[in-house]
């Protein structure tokens, strides 16, 4: 779906609205088909702009990266709407992507993904955008939770494996 064209303005407006909506667990269920676990992945006090935080989600075999971008992002949470997280397995052939300068780079075939734009591929071989992890920000504690994944994690046919520990 790399042909989808959305202007920066449309997308930022839309993402702000979606950011507010995403606090509803019912919506997470509507957007996904699998029983995702709810996992605390960071606290806003420990985040610095441009410094990625690695974690695994929905299980230990699925590496992911959380980043405070410093600019409002699609699906971004937190007071500035700039905290996003993605699966860090390249959707092309599963190599790890590395965050650098507001982009995710895969060193295997040089695919580039835009973390501000829902993980859109903008260079390289990957046909599919990076799967974005649905986050939830708790303003009272500053905790950030991962609650689901939109998009298929590379190397899986279902995001939840039989060995994944889920809520159910």
């Amino acid at each position: 779906m790399f042909m989808t064209k959305i202007s920066r303005r449309t997308f930022i407006g839309g993402s702000a609205a979606m950011g507010a909506l995403l606090t509803s667990p019912a919506l997470v269920k509507a957007l996904t088909s699998q029983p995702y676990p709810r996992v605390k992945v960071a606290n806003i006090r420990n985040l610095r702009v441009g410094e990625p935080v690695s974690f695994n989600y929905p299980d230990k075999d699925s590496p992911a990266v959380l980043i405070k971008l410093g600019e409002r992002a699609h699906g971004g949470v937190g007071p500035d709407g700039d905290i996003v997280a993605y699966s860090s397995l390249c959707t092309h052939m599963g190599c790890p992507v590395v965050y650098s300068k507001k982009r995710f780079l895969c060193a295997c075939h040089y695919s580039l993904f835009d973390p501000a734009k829902n993980g859109q591929t903008y260079q390289g071989h990957a046909s599919e955008w990076l799967p974005q992890i649905i986050l939830r920000f708790e303003p009272r504690t500053g905790d950030i939770y991962a609650e689901g994944v939109e998009g298929l994690i590379w190397g899986r046919i279902r995001n939840i494996l039989p060995t994944t520990r889920t809520r159910r």
Binding site: M1, F2, T4, I6, F11, G14, M18, L21, L22, L27, L31, T32, S33, Q34, D61, S62, H74, G75, L89, C90, T91, H92, M93, G94, C95, P96, C108, H109, K117, N118, Q120, T121, G124, H125, A126, S127, E128, P131, Q132, G148, V149, E150, G151, L152, I153, W154, G155, R156, I157, R158, N159, L161, P162, T163
Partner: protein, 180 residues
């Protein structure tokens, strides 16, 4: 919410899914692809002996080694019998050209498969002639008549050697699909 409908699971091709071998419809590199087709509602299992690909889907794949399967490689099409079928078009690991690798376009082969419920339904139904700055639909008779008169006009003016016809699929003689 994602900017377009994403999937976090794809139906698993069952052991008895139909399998076809094809070549990418895009550039002239000619990468090999495997097509799996099976009825909507039917699904194989996670274990290698329970699915058409022979892959253990209960485990995380290994980068550059496991068959790549993305959302873009999956689609639902309507068969000649009017029934709905799942299709999966994946880069062939056993093709000597691409060995399981694929390009940004090749990974979307399944999306371009004709489906009456998807944008691929917007196909040309009539020949089109450029009139001014736009295309106008015309009948087949009119289109053939126009081509015939252009060809005859060229032949009358510059002789029969002025006309050549080249038909090929992906590259010219010998420069295309030798390995396929």
């Amino acid at each position: 919410m994602a900017m377009f409908a994403r999937k976090d699971r794809i139906p698993i091709p069952p052991k008895d899914a139909q399998k076809f071998i094809t070549v990418c419809q895009y550039c002239n590199v000619g990468c090999g692809y495997n097509v799996y087709r099976w009825p909507v509602g039917k699904e194989g299992g996670l274990k290698p002996e329970q699915n058409a690909l022979g892959i253990d889907f209960s485990k995380q794949g290994v980068a550059l080694q496991t068959q790549s399967i993305t959302e873009t490689m999956y689609n639902v099409v309507r068969g000649e019998d009017g029934k709905l079928y799942n299709i999966l078009i994946v880069p062939a690991m056993d093709s000597p050209i691409n060995r399981g690798n694929y390009s940004i376009r090749g990974g979307t082969n399944a999306q371009a498969a004709y489906s009456p419920t998807k944008p691929t339904r917007d196909r040309l139904l009539y020949p089109m002639i450029r009139v001014g700055d736009q295309f106008m639909p015309v009948s087949w008779d009119e289109a053939i008549d126009l081509i015939a008169r252009v060809v005859k006009g060229v032949k009358d003016k510059w002789g029969p050697d002025s006309i050549a016809m080249k038909i090929h699929d992906h590259g010219n003689a010998g420069a295309g699909f030798e390995d396929n």
